[in-house]
Symmetry: C2
Subunit: 235 residues, 2 copies
DNA sequence: TAATTTTATTATGTCATACATAATTATGGC
DNA sequence: GCCATAATTATGTATGACATAATAAAATTA
């Protein structure tokens, strides 16, 4: 009885719940001990004894670490440190229906910022094969008349390929997460201005610049290509 | 015995663990029912009965949602939907000592991409007050001779202010998360080339361009300003 | 009656125990 | 020495109990 109070006394007053504190201690432990990926941490029961709480609490704390991708637990083997997939878990909360309007708009902006700013990575890492892939993709660049689904697929194929070329997996994962949100914002009534039909620099044009131009040129071209989206933000 | 198999039979074969499936069902539930922030979801015991698993499993699944920031649970009141702070939880796993080298480098790149690409947001939202703030900050722009800590603080003040001006809270939070990683990569031996002493466009120069130039100019200037970092990536 | 204090209720937080499950290790036969 | 089988072990899941805190209901008082 009054167990929590006793724990408080023992460990100094902390405001959070027991699991919170245990979690913090575990994270601290992981960080302090220069653990490498693949190292195992003590078993649940051992941790329970060491810290002096029930296995339930330990399990809840470990579960959080697992949810954050800091550890993976295998039967018999105990939990092992993993290199966290920083965006892996994020995708579940990155849901248009659960985010408030302002955040949605900000995520929309984030994609635009990334694509305008990624030029240098592209130029440094692009290969001849990539150019060929892009050529194949833009070969069927749809006109405005064609149906929306096809348009969306083409958009995803082209811009997705760019993220791939960037050679930055983290950014690519991030983009994949942003995609549904972007789609949602684009289609929803969240942005005041309607999408314009005006044509800006095409995907084809971007490929040409990627092949023969410079990062500066590409940044400006991409900015132009995305002007429809930018214009809807800035009204 | 063979409870899991029975569950599989009932619900169609799914590969993941029981908690995984329950979690998925709960997320699905939250999304389908057009729930607004503040709405409550059924009690743990009710959920256990509805889905047909023990309270333990329900609790673990709910705990994940809580860790992801989708819900908050209050005693007696049950769990309530919250607008997820998408990057809130991420900060725990965004730890230099837990990320592998490649991810670290990619996060490093991510920051560069963001700052080069954010120009349009800046120009659209900057105010006279912001310019004054920036002027105050660059007034004490340190020279190379001065000590590192001061340099770092100045860097953070200046670039942080830019994110603030962008008006994109999501991006700002993201940057705050990236900062320690960036610092770590910059200081560590992860990048092959040493940091150059060569001077590029200064913070002062960036402010001038922000005041009188265009987004195009700013992008190029920022790219130049960050060339030290870019050069270390591209060797 | 209205306001305030006290008590009861209720849902989550924590603990404890038991067993299932899957992976590893040990054993045994050849 | 190799392969199949059995024992071990740590996590996964279920169940039941009580603590705690927030709320609702009841009782007391002005």
């Amino acid at each position: 009885m009054a167990l929590e109070l006793i724990q408080d006394k023992l460990k100094g007053i902390e405001t959070n719940s027991l699991v919170d504190r245990v979690e913090a201690r575990l994270v601290e432990l992981l960080q302090s001990r220069q653990l490498k990926v693949g190292d195992t941490i003590p078993k649940e029961i051992e941790l329970a004894e060491i810290i002096g709480v029930s296995r339930t609490v330990i399990r809840e704390a470990l579960l959080r670490l697992r949810t954050m991708g800091l550890i993976e637990s295998r039967k018999k083997k105990g939990a092992v440190i993993t290199s966290p997939d920083i965006f892996g878990n994020l995708s579940k909360s990155m849901n248009p229906y659960l985010l408030d309007d302002n955040t949605l708009r900000e995520v929309f902006e984030l994609r635009l910022v990334l694509e305008v700013g990624m030029a240098d990575l592209l130029y440094h890492r692009i290969t001849k094969n990539d150019i060929e892939d892009l050529r194949r993709i833009v070969q069927d660049e749809p006109t405005d008349a064609e149906n929306r689904i096809f348009n969306v697929n083409h958009e995803i194929a082209f811009h997705g390929k760019l993220y791939e070329i960037s050679g930055n997996q983290t950014m690519r994962k991030f983009q994949k997460m942003l995609l549904p949100v972007f789609e949602y914002v684009h289609e929803s009534g969240l942005l005041k201005k309607p999408a314009s039909r005006k044509k800006f620099i095409s995907h084809r044009g971007l490929v040409d610049i990627l092949e023969n131009g410079s990062p500066e040129m590409f940044r400006n071209a991409m900015r132009n290509h995305l002007d429809n989206h930018f214009a809807r933000l800035f009204d």
